[in-house]
């Protein structure tokens, strides 16, 4: 049983201790240390100890700060996407799909945009799987079409259509300049535009996605780092149950 209000724990309950590091565009020296101290204080760290600083070139200083942060975490206010569906075994997934759809469930997946990181989507889709769980290809009642890397949005829309996909799974790993967000939004808009209500289920995944972002991205569900294929398969069953 955890309490509702908690603080970081360094060495004793409630001490609030955290470690922070950052660089400021300020030349190394006491003034820089003071600036680091000020920033740490603004972050709520008080007392803050600037325990290390060193110059990076002439104009920058790197800092390590330790100290007690005065914020309190309210666990009741924590927002998480709770898994509202049970984790199913492959057999359970297969049997549900078979019973309810009476055909295979069709999944089209790929990395969109210029993203070439396929390891994540492959971990979900390929038989080999992830973390000891087999991927979706292993599920007898799922048909998986893995388009691989650097798929354009028009391509994936077209393919989803021809395959009559029930679900589209896209992966986004590169986040610079918010590429992952922009690409996913572009895709969800394209599906809505092209297929309206008949659009497939849209699922986005990648290590820097927060599951809370689904509405912002315009997709039905978002999976973050460490996702396992079983979670995704179970979600698929849950989602088609909702639809049926």
């Amino acid at each position: 049983m955890t309490k509702r209000h908690v603080r970081p724990y360094g060495d004793a309950t409630g001490d609030g201790m955290v470690q922070v590091s950052f660089t400021l565009p300020v030349p190394h020296g006491p003034r820089a240390d003071g600036a680091a101290q000020q920033l740490a204080n603004k972050m709520g760290i008080d007392p803050a100890m600037v325990v290390h600083s060193h110059a990076i070139g002439d104009g920058f200083t790197f800092f390590v700060v330790y100290g007690s942060v005065n914020h309190i975490v309210d666990l009741d206010e924590v927002k998480v996407v709770e898994r509202e569906y049970p984790l199913l075994s492959p057999a359970e997934v297969n049997s549900y799909v078979k019973k309810s759809l009476r055909r295979k469930l069709i999944v089209v997946g790929g990395c969109i945009g210029t993203d070439a990181h396929t390891v994540g989507i492959d971990a979900i889709l390929n038989i080999k799987g992830f973390a000891g769980e087999k991927g979706l290809e292993y599920y007898r009642e799922l048909r998986v079409v893995n388009l691989g890397a650097q798929v354009t949005v028009p391509e994936i829309v077209k393919r989803a259509r021809t395959e009559k996909a029930d679900a589209v799974l896209v992966s986004q790993v590169v986040t610079q300049r918010d590429a992952h967000i922009l690409n996913t939004q572009e895709m969800s808009a394209a599906f809505r535009e092209a297929m309206g209500e008949r659009r497939p289920l849209m699922i986005a995944g990648g290590p820097r996605f927060d599951p809370l972002m689904a509405p912002e991205l315009g997709v039905d569900r978002v999976f973050g780092r460490g996702t396992t294929p079983g979670e995704v398969a179970s979600y698929l069953v849950h989602a088609i149950k909702e639809k049926v």
Binding site: A116, A149, A179
Partner: protein, 524 residues
């Protein structure tokens, strides 16, 4: 001194098999040209600039010209004949003017024959020779600068990446990296550039997770690093990426702007960018001949296999690929000293003996390719958001590098799994390298893998598996092996992939003075 006691017969067998596996592919490469090879040839001949008025954005003039040539008369005979013929026929002074006229629809290309053909070939040769002499001058200039300013005092050379997306920020970060200890600066390309079938123009400021490779960006970085070289008292090498749909062109630009190293792998584009295999092998051959001429060290990409395949199970595929890369490089004229064959520290760190296994693999590469400036790549796949653990792992990677005598050390970043490197990441990473080099740099003196011990056995095992795999590849054909997912678990059939339609079978009368001059070393 040999620590692994590799059997020279097995090594010779491995090389013989690699050559045999490569042979049919070399034949194919010789029998084809590509749009990129032709564009590269014209770039050598002096064409520059882009069509800024085109609605699709800045399309380089060279693309307009080659595309139009192809439309008008095909590329089977190469671009040189039709282009220099058109120049003569239309009495135009420069290739750039020709391009403008082409865009305006004023030029009709045909394949000249007889005297016209001989004239065109000659004019082409003169122009290309001018470009090659520029490359030669750059090479001489590099040698001069190195003699004057000096090489890094230690091995491995320290290789740092910048990737801001903005060439101006890149310059700032590169300078600060060099001052902090980097010997080599690599500018990562914007994601997706390798799939562009043209080379962007000018200085650029808006890449994604990297900065566009352009001739102007190359120039800017080289000039900046020339300044910094003087300041830090060692010649700072500059690296960029050849691989991709524009491999031959970027190789030319690298030669023209005195880059010192280029990423150039015989299979990377196929496997990791889904570029058509034939296209890649053709482009690769031309680009490597260019690098040979320019004295540019190539960096191959075996490290990548271990991000998609398991570093233990697939260790031998790295060795096989290195042997293939070596063969293709030799065939294209690159000497051993320019072969920055790649390999990486990518074994799951939770495996028992993982560090010793890394040593075994790294030492195998070292002893198989004693003269090559091997490139040692840091852990990436098993890096996590636990940056403390990551920093430690990078330290052991650095140690493996010095223990096994690696030549080029790509510096690992504790934030590998988090972000493209921050200023401070690079600084801490170089401090990590520096600690290891300084504190344990000579520990190799005391590193003597036990006879028949774990390390020696593992190295022999990997070499054995590599020979077996080469044997199978010789039987099946390299292109089929690639199609079957032999490398990095990526399956790439020879008739699929990006850029397939840029491949053209050479006709009998194909003319390309560049290829000839690269092969013969001619300067005129």
């Amino acid at each position: 001194m040999s620590l692994l006691d590799l059997d020279p017969k097995v090594v010779a067998t491995a090389r013989r098999l690699a050559a045999k596996a490569a042979e049919p592919v070399v034949d194919i490469a010789k029998a084809h040209t590509t749009v990129a090879v032709e564009r590269a040839t014209l770039r050598l001949a002096g064409i520059t600039g882009a069509d800024t008025t085109h609605r699709a954005g800045d399309i380089p003039w060279v693309n307009r010209v080659v595309d139009t040539v192809r439309e008008h008369c095909g590329l089977e005979h190469g671009a040189v004949l039709p282009v220099f013929d058109a120049l003569a026929r239309n009495d135009i002074g420069t290739l750039t003017e020709l391009a403008e006229a082409t865009a305006a629809g004023q030029i009709q290309y045909t394949v000249p024959t007889g005297a016209a053909a001989r004239r065109a070939a000659k004019a082409g040769r003169v122009a290309i020779a001018r470009g090659l002499r520029q490359v030669d001058r750059n090479r001489a200039q590099r040698d001069k600068l190195i003699t004057k300013i000096g090489d890094p005092p230690q091995r491995p050379w320290i290789y740092l990446i910048v990737a801001t997306g903005d060439i101006d920020e890149d310059v700032v970060q590169a300078a600060s990296a060099a001052r902090a200890g980097a010997d080599i600066i690599a500018v990562i390309r914007s994601t997706g550039q390798s799939l562009l079938d043209y080379v962007p123009e000018g200085a650029t400021h808006h890449g994604f997770a990297g900065t566009y490779a352009t001739q102007e960006n190359f120039r800017i970085m080289r000039a900046a690093m020339d300044e910094v070289s003087k300041e830090v008292g060692r010649y700072i090498r500059v690296t960029n990426y050849a691989s991709g749909l524009c491999m031959p062109e970027i190789a030319v630009l690298g030669g023209l702007e005195r880059l010192d190293m280029m990423l150039n792998d015989c299979m990377y584009g196929i496997l990791f960018r889904d570029i058509n295999p034939i296209r890649t092998f053709v482009d690769q051959r031309f680009s490597r001949a260019m690098h040979a001429r320019a004295g540019i060290i190539i960096n191959t990409g075996e490290d990548n296999y271990l991000t998609t395949a398991d570093a233990v199970e697939a260790a031998h595929t790295v060795t096989v690929s290195q042997l293939l890369n070596e063969h293709f490089a030799h065939e294209a004229g690159l000497p051993n000293e320019l072969l920055g064959l790649g390999h990486a520290f990518e074994i799951n760190p939770d495996l028992p003996e993982s560090f010793r296994m890394e040593l075994a693999h790294a030492l195998l590469a070292r002893e198989l390719f004693p003269e090559a400036p091997l490139k040692w790549m840091p852990p990436t796949k098993h890096m996590t958001g636990d940056v403390f653990r990551g920093h430690l792992l990078d330290g052991f990677f650095n140690l493996a590098g010095v223990l096994t005598g690696q030549s080029i050390l790509l510096v690992g970043m504790m934030t590998e799994a988090v972000v493209t490197p921050w200023l401070s990441d690079r600084d801490l990473a170089v401090a990590n390298v520096r600690y290891v080099l300084n504190a344990a740099g000579n520990l190799s003196e005391d590193f003597v893998p036990a006879r028949d011990g774990y390390i020696v056995k593992r190295a022999h095992q990997v070499l054995g598996e590599a020979v077996d795999l080469l044997d199978r590849i010789v039987d099946d054909g390299l292109l089929n092996a690639i199609g079957d997912g032999t490398f990095g678990l990526m399956k790439r059939p020879q008739d699929k992939g990006k850029g397939t339609d840029g491949v053209v079978s050479k006709a009998d009368g194909y003319v390309n003075p560049a290829i000839e001059m690269l092969e013969t070393g001619a300067t005129k």
